[in-house]
Symmetry: D3
Subunit: 238 residues, 6 copies
């Protein structure tokens, strides 16, 4: 049994609260165990230069942690005048993941910026950000449709993500921070609701890993993501 009483193949409690920030076109608070992320989707009627006059829109993401989202206070990016390398990597991942389920033509020449701000971190912040921001993004698109700005929903599938890893020889789903710190192999998996992969980032932090371990971890991730997509659907139906 794991430190919080879960079995190895069990997700932490997941809760998605929609319309969390009144100003945003879409917004959720996603809680995965003690990890809490505010995801807002903001629509702007302009596109970056490389999409100008393309008839297509753009979806991009920014990720950040509040200074005291973690056990030790981190100084803000602005006080160091540089964007944290880890944040940069994560926000590129979130943007790529969301764009795979958006038809940019149907979106039209506008930009949706998804902001993922971690207010409390306990492992799995990047995957929680993806899972939560998908719902915020969908709500923003619904609003565009309700407002008559687009005629068809540009969202063409579901996307959710989780982490898996090998901790002291055990394959585990949805690592909390303490588990993640001890993981020999650590993997973030992003999947669509068609059961296929959008992104796999597998890292042998302490040890290498073979094809067999990769396979079991992917199966574990898949079962978790199916569950997460059920939670997304439920949230969207309320």
């Amino acid at each position: 049994m794991r430190q919080d009483g879960r079995s190895n193949s069990q997700l932490r409690a997941v809760k998605i609260t929609r319309n969390y920030i009144k100003h945003a076109e879409g917004s959720v608070l996603i809680e995965v165990g003690d990890t809490k992320v505010i995801c807002t989707a903001s629509v702007e009627e302009r596109v970056p230069p490389f999409k100008k006059d393309s008839g297509e829109g753009w979806v991009t993401a920014e990720y950040s942690m509040l200074p005291r989202a973690t056990g030790v206070r981190n100084s803000r990016d602005i006080s160091k005048l540089r964007l944290n390398g880890r944040s940069q990597e994560i926000q590129r991942l979130i943007g790529r993941s969301l764009r795979t389920v958006i038809d940019l033509k149907l979106l039209g020449e506008r930009t949706i910026t998804v902001d993922c701000d971690v207010i409390q971190a306990d492992g799995g912040t990047r995957t929680a950000s993806i899972t939560g921001s998908y719902v915020a993004l969908l709500d923003a698109c619904r609003k565009l449709k309700d407002d008559g700005l687009i005629s068809r929903m540009p969202v063409i599938g579901f996307v959710a993500a989780t982490s898996v890893g090998i901790v002291k020889g055990e394959e585990m789903l949805d690592l909390c921070y303490a588990e993640d710190s001890n993981a020999g192999v650590d993997m973030n998996v992003v999947m669509s609701d068609n059961g296929e992969f959008i992104e796999i980032q597998a890292t042998g932090e302490k040890t290498c890993f073979g094809r067999k371990q990769l396979d079991s971890l992917l199966s574990l991730a898949q079962s978790g993501i199916e569950e997460l997509i059920r939670v997304q659907k439920e949230a969207l139906n309320n």
Copy 2:
């Protein structure tokens, strides 16, 4: 009657939730109407250079808004590589206000950094930040005392703040964003529980103001702050 049904001398609903972020030594979510700020107080066992070997500690503050805390998305400071001028001004005010009620000698050579992150803005974010961060600061000091790191509480009074202003000729307490935008005179008042002023920032945004108007506004502020200190005390007793 005001747009949200309040009388001119009425505060918005105020709610202070303590222990909001599990990692921080002190933390609250303060809600003043639709304005919501997460305030964390982080203790670090070091002081800035100008306090080295002084036997005294330091209290400082940082203030920021999530990009979509407002009606229109604001780009992050880091994407412009400069700290917003308004944020800079506000965090200096918060720090000064909190330091007036802290005995830095009793705190000892350590720093408490208060982070005020506005997750939803509807006017009065700076005064809500002061009112909320006082509670977070006090909780952090209590923890220091409980942990045996200090022997006496370094907090020597209460501090709370509110805004007042003249909107279309009416003197009003605790302006929401719509009122604030139309205010001819705008004033932020910080007071101690001894009924005296810690800071007054009065600005004639559209019109000048005389001694008489100043006087009524200060009275209005005083009544509001007395109420806010009652809310702080209540929160701290739970």
Copy 3:
């Protein structure tokens, strides 16, 4: 008697030298005791984005100190890659103060940037900057009118500023640096020539203050500012 022989209600010697920098549309050297600030007003035929096509102009200010304007050398902002927080706060105050006496419609779609560069500091640099830059601004407007670019003067009143404070129990006008460092209460007051307030920034640096102290300090400030406006008028008549 104060350290420089003044009475508590006496300003330091004030001298305003117009046309100090030959290139600027308006420029003065203002000396208030040993505090010396060069204020230039530069006209540019363009407006910031938020004033585009509004028919209105803009007035903004920048404030800085030469590295050795002070007792100890300060490194330049550029060497730290960040604008000093205090400078930021001050330049926002100068800009707000000047805008209250300018009719932006009469100015037309152009920007006047006022630069206040402190070459020697001895307390009261922000209030000297306001008092001096008003004269530079007025000269720049006169030049616009003389050049036929505007038909009516957009300046609709006078603005000047001074500091007051409580030093070792004594209420004093126009604090020099040594007095300011020992002030328990410190206040910057900006007034118009109609005898009303434009901005009040009152800070209990070491002690709180009550309504009564506030009142006497404001009276002291008012008498000083009346005198400063006389000096401005005299300078403008030469």
Copy 4:
């Protein structure tokens, strides 16, 4: 047949020139087809703060492209005052990959910084950087041993990397730029000489991918990396 005449499972010509920069402790020019990267390994007798007094050393990497390494000139990071997000991501990957084959205890309290500067880019710059910098790192370690600074080699295995992808339905090894731009699925694989994975980054750029495709791509990558390790060994024996 591919545009450059290769079969789908064929690497481009790989050439590793050791001792390319006379000043560096280790340095190579690695050429993979038209992709050319200078990798230098620099030894410094100090460690980052988090390794201080740990008895362990550190290996880190920096990655950059010359402005005209690509078809269109890219402005330098310094002219935008921010490190390119893609570079940041890549240099984190290079550093992680190299650290998996270094015993930091045997290295002792010193830092090896690997600089990968792409002088000509034609796809696969990050994997070429890993493959090349491994050789530079090993040469730097040999020099440490030859100079008597360490007694045992801290390098505990080989590491090399390549890319694989699905281009117009074909699974291909070692994509050049034109292929990479058209890839539906794109994967960077880092492996050790024990036949296990160090890192897998698989991205469905245009389409999702299933377990079966993942498996064939990993096999393709594995065969390529085995070949690359042979090239490394040969280079190191000259």
Copy 5:
């Protein structure tokens, strides 16, 4: 005759006012025609890392222009987050020039930072900065000696500088801005009082130049610099 009535071999009026800024160890206002520069020399009891424990001190310079020192307002370096390239080049030249006449051993382990702030520019600001800052530097050294911090003056010669150029075929000394803008060849010359060169920067802005022209320009510069050193000596004797 030149536009300001001078002959080709005549300097503009030069005036050096010592003790211009009360806080600095040495300070002058140097006026060369309409070019006005404040030069301060600040002593700090520490040295840069590369001089630590060397027994030697350091002399360095910073150069900047007030935004409206010129005909058109220049935005401040901090608003562009980068030090102006021309300023950088000039301050390196000033520092090098001053160091040639300072015995760093006699100075002892302390730093003198010379700040040259141009308050009004009309050509020749870099050479006026060198000529003026020499006097400020000497005054700072005298103060060190008077205060008993050093036993012997570390200044081992005089240094002054001027510009020469070829304007519409005429060789001219000490170019004002209008002449400088039209110069085909432009030269800044720094000399010691021993009649030798410290630095020559000759640029064919519009045309190349031969050995003969170089020779006459150097003679012209030499006569000007001899005059400038007389002015320095006179200022130092008052």
Copy 6:
């Protein structure tokens, strides 16, 4: 005899390899002894603001060193967030030098950016950059002409550069790093093929210098540059 066996008036071996980077319109690797610089010339169909609608083009340069081009690793500009002062100075020199031999009207409204990236440094990197980038620039112009974008070559002469100096009393041509570090007088000379000077930068690093030394050094430089122009011509004929 010098440490590498050369006579005092002898250049190091010079090698210019054209078409070194396949993407650039013009590119060379220039090797002067152990100094190696990649020079690329990139054509862009736009001009900086100050050339807009002027009918003229622009030529500009950027200069940088790879971190380990030198004996000790230098951190990258981006990690310090500021462009190295020496690089700034050098790239301004390269740009000025190249512009003297380009007819900007014949170039038309386009920009050629020359990037000089030093991959290995052993003294004389700035003069090697000028000599090499001239060839890259010329190749880029030839390409413009071949592509029919311009009708006449805008290059109106040759430009090359070398360093000379006085090392332990000996006048020497083309200093390597070890010689440069010991030079009392150090001079960079840029000349045209008409035997005239474009730029002279002479610095008395350790000692002043007189007219006679200047003259001999200039003769030495001239003979070296004539040789360098022969090498350029030969390279361009292959």
